[in-house]
Amino acid sequence: MEFKQVGVVGAGVMGIGLAQNLAQTKHQVILLDISQEVLDKAMKTIKQNVRLSRLYNKGSGQEPVADVMARITPTTDYALFKNADFVVENAVEKWEIKKEIYPQLDAVCPEHCVFAANTSCISITKIASVTDRADRILGMHFMNPVPMKPVVEAIRGYHTTEKTIETAKAFLAGMDKTCVVVNDMPGFVSNRVLMITVNEAAYLVQDQVAPAADVDEIFRSCFGHAMGPLETADLIGLDTILYSIDVLYESYNDSKYRPCPLLKKMVDAGLHGRKSGEGFYKYN
């Protein structure tokens, strides 16, 4: 199975990591976003990240930055996906946005092309319903930063075939990754647990039980987690966390997913975590 050309939709945090990872594993990448400005910024970030990846990958495996960058074509035009063998969609975690993207992909991509929705919460079965290829759609929940995380949570939608799962595994192998396949329900395994943890941790800060640093310290030192829930939230982006918890709340109509008011306030104030310079912690 060959994946000569890969389409990446969305040039945010995840799209940037994916494009970098794919280009560094010798794939031709079409990176699409609706904003040229976002694309320009993404290409700059990818270039910097490819350069800095030398910190961790010494030796002959290091290609010149220009060679890696030459494999990425930024565009605002879906028409460039006409030869894509595989597409990973990383748009904002909002159904209104995702439901507009898939019919466009469906119209332009070749018959054999598999779509992977890199969503952290939205149902794969629901996404598949707005296309005519529900059998060739699955969820791929990549972790951030994509180039450093070797395992992906893969999600089998209601109509996803075994062949599609096999294709997805081969695709991931080409990125030096593996996956754990789970069934489709909003939030899957990872985020149904993580989002509620982050949300409750935000409540702890709001209720002045402990400051963010102490909450994280307990997870790191007592539980042996590599990162605490609030620094993880800053890394993911607090806006994404809020979108995700909102999706879970709408999906299950269960009050245990009600978003913490402090989290809402921080998002409104533009405190979106690492990418905005401030979240539960200050950066820069």
């Binding site: 030398r54 961790y56 010494k58 950066y283």
Partner: protein, 80 residues
């Protein structure tokens, strides 16, 4: 720029991320509170703060392991 100046600025940057009084020869990466992302942030900070470019051959974790190591790198770049 004096060594003292450079070291103060580096320590201030690291101090913003971690509530810990770092010694100049202490290995940042062995303390357990930085992850792989922080090393990249540190390089980006050093480049913009001191207006230098860290060349490929200097992109080694060892050059960013301690405040003293970063200081030597910055001095080398500024004088070169």
């Amino acid at each position: 720029m004096s060594h003292k100046d450079i070291k103060t600025r580096i320590k201030a940057f690291i101090g913003k991320h971690f509530q810990y009084e770092l010694k100049p020869d202490e290995d940042i990466f062995s303390l357990g509170f930085v992850n792989s992302l922080f090393a990249m942030q540190l390089v980006t900070f050093v480049e913009s703060e001191f207006d230098i470019t860290v060349e490929d051959e200097d992109l080694e974790l060892d050059n960013f392991r301690t405040v003293n190591a970063i200081d030597s790198l910055v001095q080398k770049k500024l004088s070169g």
